[in-house]
Symmetry: C2
Subunit: 545 residues, 2 copies
């Protein structure tokens, strides 16, 4: 006989089983009962100022923890997360979105229900565009099956999923599903793999200047060790994409730098263009990563979780992990000596020019000496992202930035997500003034939850990236006193710096401030820009104008 449980119990049990200890979100009347049960479970709820903040935080939590979850009310809550959930979809952050909804018994009433739009499927239809699987828990009989199905899809595809939970189903009794003997559905595709491998190995062995490019899927699918093993079996140099930055320790001797086509470091771009075999592993083919370069597909091997391609021909059903593991085996007898020694010089000791105004390029150069080991660097978009390509992420530290979807306002709430998982850390957070005005109020959560990141607001008085695409008054924004935010939220250290000397002092004060978060308002000239941004605007500007 089947055992009985309730849908809520089963859902909470399922969240715990996949490793979720915290759920981000804001309740509302359609979800508050489930929220209350969640709060009384072993899972903790984490509130934010707005639902978008909760979604960005859950996304970052997912990137650190392997999976994240979000719980919101119907429409006014859920629709506020669409942009952030779309970002998680685009950048492959597995996220479980749970939304309250009108009860099954309310749905046929005479009245329009508050928070609803066109009809009661509108929110579900919208989420279909930004999630990989969806369910509505409106039938207790199959609710556990549906929960299993969407969470499995979340883990498999590393994309968000949507669970709609009508409020009158929260207590509904449902059967406990039988313990599944997970049939391994993986196809026996040795023939395909062998064929692909043979061709890849021949191509690699014949190459004079092979290079490996690691992307974000190496982290998402936890293939870091397999990736390192391949590097060390071959001795080939490697780069990462921006989204894949810091997938493994950037102090690795074979690390050449971050590749971003012609927008990125020209030395690295040249190296890739001259390579007669680029082995791309787990990297997404995005315009910002590669769109500006003349990547000759005839000289690439491209392997991701979803696609496998040598030159211009595709293979189906090749597992990314299997391929990396087998490739390392095939190549290890071939070449053990490290072919490449990094030519990228570590910046000479930074000499402070005390009275000079801070420039974005020098800010990032200086920051290289400030990032501790075992920590995070979290960057927003614009020059916070472009400038950060020059950062060398130290041992056991990791880099987080929305490098492909590039939604402004990611960094501050993302920092909350990271710190809820790892509250002992003090990440370095870099955010532009425009992005800060979108979601910066979420640093209220740093005060509320007693978290201590160090936030640099790169204050260049507006949307500087866009000034170089097409300038106009629409690029000007109100110049806030960002460093006074601690007074609003009741905690935190606020500092304001204009010169290199003041920046040095701020570094010291921030490091010594172990009691609260620190926010540093870094004044920059409104036309100051990083080298990456210079290259980007000269290339992308043409598309705009």
């Amino acid at each position: 006989m089947l055992k009985e449980t309730t849908i809520t119990e089963y859902l909470i049990h399922s969240l715990k089983k996949v490793g979720i200890e915290h759920v981000f979100g804001i309740p509302g009347d359609y979800v508050v009962k489930f929220f209350s049960m969640l709060e009384n479970s072993e899972i903790k709820t984490v509130g934010t100022c707005s639902e978008q903040g909760a979604a960005f935080a859950a996304d970052a939590y997912s990137r650190v923890n392997g999976i994240g979850a979000l719980c919101v009310t119907y429409c006014v809550g859920g629709l506020n997360t669409i942009n952030a959930v779309a970002g998680a979809y685009a950048e492959k952050a597995p996220l479980i979105v749970i939304s309250g909804a009108p009860g099954v018994c309310e749905r046929d009433g005479d009245y329009l229900l508050h928070h609803s739009i066109r009809d009661l499927n509108s929110q579900l239809n919208i989420f279909k565009e930004v999630t990989i699987a969806q369910c509505v828990l409106d039938d207790p009989q199959n609710a556990p099956y549906e929960i299993d199905r969407v969470i499995d899809a979340c883990l498999k595809h590393k994309r968000p999923v949507y669970i709609e939970f009508p409020r009158d189903m929260v207590d509904a009794k449902c059967p406990v599903p039988l313990q599944k003997n997970k049939t391994i559905c993986k196809k026996n595709n040795n023939d395909i793999l062998n064929e692909a491998l043979k061709e890849a190995v021949e191509m690699i062995k014949a190459a004079k200047k092979p290079i490996i490019m690691g992307g974000v899927e190496i982290r998402r699918y936890k293939l870091e060790n397999e990736f390192i093993n391949l590097l060390e079996c071959t001795g080939y140099p490697y780069v990462t994409t921006v989204l894949g930055k810091s997938i493994i320790d950037e102090s690795h001797p074979q690390f050449l730098g971050v590749y971003m086509g012609k927008v990125g470091d020209p030395q690295i771009c040249n190296y890739i263009e001259e390579s007669d075999c680029t082995l791309m592993l787990g990297s997404l083919m995005t315009d910002t990563n590669m769109g500006t370069a003349q990547l000759d597909i005839s000289k690439t091997i491209y392997a991701t979780a979803d696609q496998f391609c040598i030159k211009h021909h595709y293979f189906k059903d090749i597992d990314l992990k299997d391929f990396i593991v087998r490739l390392a085996e095939e190549l290890k007898s071939e070449q053990k000596e490290v072919l490449f020694k990094s030519e990228i010089k570590t910046k000479a000791d930074f000499v402070v020019q005390p009275e000079n105004p801070i420039k974005v390029t020098r800010f990032f150069e200086r920051l290289n000496g400030f990032i501790p080991e075992d920590n995070f660097v979290i960057c927003d978009v614009g020059d916070s992202l472009f400038g950060s390509l020059a950062l060398k992420i130290p041992k056991n530290s990791a880099y987080l930035g929305p490098a492909y979807y590039t939604s402004m306002g990611y960094a501050i709430p993302a920092t909350l997500g990271v710190l809820i998982k790892k509250p002992e850390l003090r990440p370095i957070v870099i955010v532009g003034d425009g992005a800060f005005q979108m979601t910066g109020h979420e640093l209220s959560c740093f005060a509320f939850y007693d978290l201590k990141p160090i936030v640099f607001v790169l204050n260049n008085n507006g949307y500087t990236t866009q000034r170089y695409l097409k300038d106009g008054k629409y690029n000007d924004i109100n110049n806030w006193n960002y460093h006074l935010f601690p007074e609003i939220v009741g905690n935190g250290l606020g500092l304001e710096v204009r010169t290199e000397e003041e920046l040095e002092e701020a570094f010291v004060k921030a490091q010594n401030n172990t009691k609260s978060f620190t926010i540093i308002n870094v004044h920059l000239d409104k036309y100051d820009k990083s080298e990456t941004l210079s290259r980007l605007t000269s290339i992308f500007g043409k598309k705009v104008i």
Copy 2:
């Protein structure tokens, strides 16, 4: 021969033609070229901190101006407005959403384009759920036709529409459409109208206690004069729904008050329940308006722009305006004497209890004496909305609140929308602390555009409405020093009040501060609530628990 123009010129021309003088939004690379052309036209662009703020502002601008517009970049911009646009859909605010998008020639490239999700139709598909008509301007030949089609739909249905503008089409030449001799498509439906009218008139004449209920469509379709004429022809008392509050001057002698079912004023609820003929004009049948009452449909006549129903039978194709006009004609010979004199007492002069802590009920009582004529009262949700039902909106003033969709965080950006249209006004804005934390940073725009509203933050330390539905730690939020916001945004007067005496002083200071906006942090007990909220939680609480 057809004259030639460009898609951009035609779009800007069309916006101007329907009365749009301002477009709210934030540019991004997919839309910045159009933004720049917009800025160089007669239409002004208005920037905000976030796209959601822009959308709420455009919604409020629409409610004041008759139509509003919003311009954003692809996905990271557009998807950030979905919740606000859904609110405009639900509450019938006509809004033109223009989104930049990848160029037609970029769409078939080898790379994933930044800001994109599943495919390049994702954003369009999402907007289909929250707009009444959509187009993609990817073909210059039919672009003008498409622009006309969606803007016509916007005006006709009073709902948002979506225009996607690929960035390489901005300069594209297109034909100027022929001047349309707008064929009036209105059906000759006199037979239907006469039949409905005859039945309605008989029902009304036979009634002993008829009452009229006015809803938001009276304002949306500009039927205020027709409505007043009907009132004065009949002498019947009238109420409004919450969303319809202040459709006409609340000092009208036949005005009974705002109807909100059992949640609202019990006298008014009783009056409606006892009525043998309730004539509902332009009011949406929502749960918050009516869901709690025992409205006997056999005793109602229900007419909106989309539906017409007497008792339980429907009529098609009846125009709301025609019906109101003809009904007034039929009834004017019948009854001219005013049947009803308001029994709702105007509150006796408010006596300040100087040392008493401020209570929400007394706050609203006192506020009644503070609202000037020719002004706006703009309320957010929660007790800001519930409490405000007790406000009597003076002559030529209007009330604005998201009374049906009830998305928190509407009021501050909505105030921007109102003031961009009417910068000389100083509206009274009432917002809860929870709602303020969502979008309150948009008051930066008051400083940036030199606007001077008076903002009351009803600070009850969390989500008080929800405390009464289901209390838990998730209802606690960080207690900000809301009155210090002027220091962040560089302008404004901030005040903090706890007692009635301090509130009195704040009223005076706010009135005297004609140079900037004023924000008043009104401390309330976290369990203090309005009478409406008391009734609401005792009724709706059951659905939650």
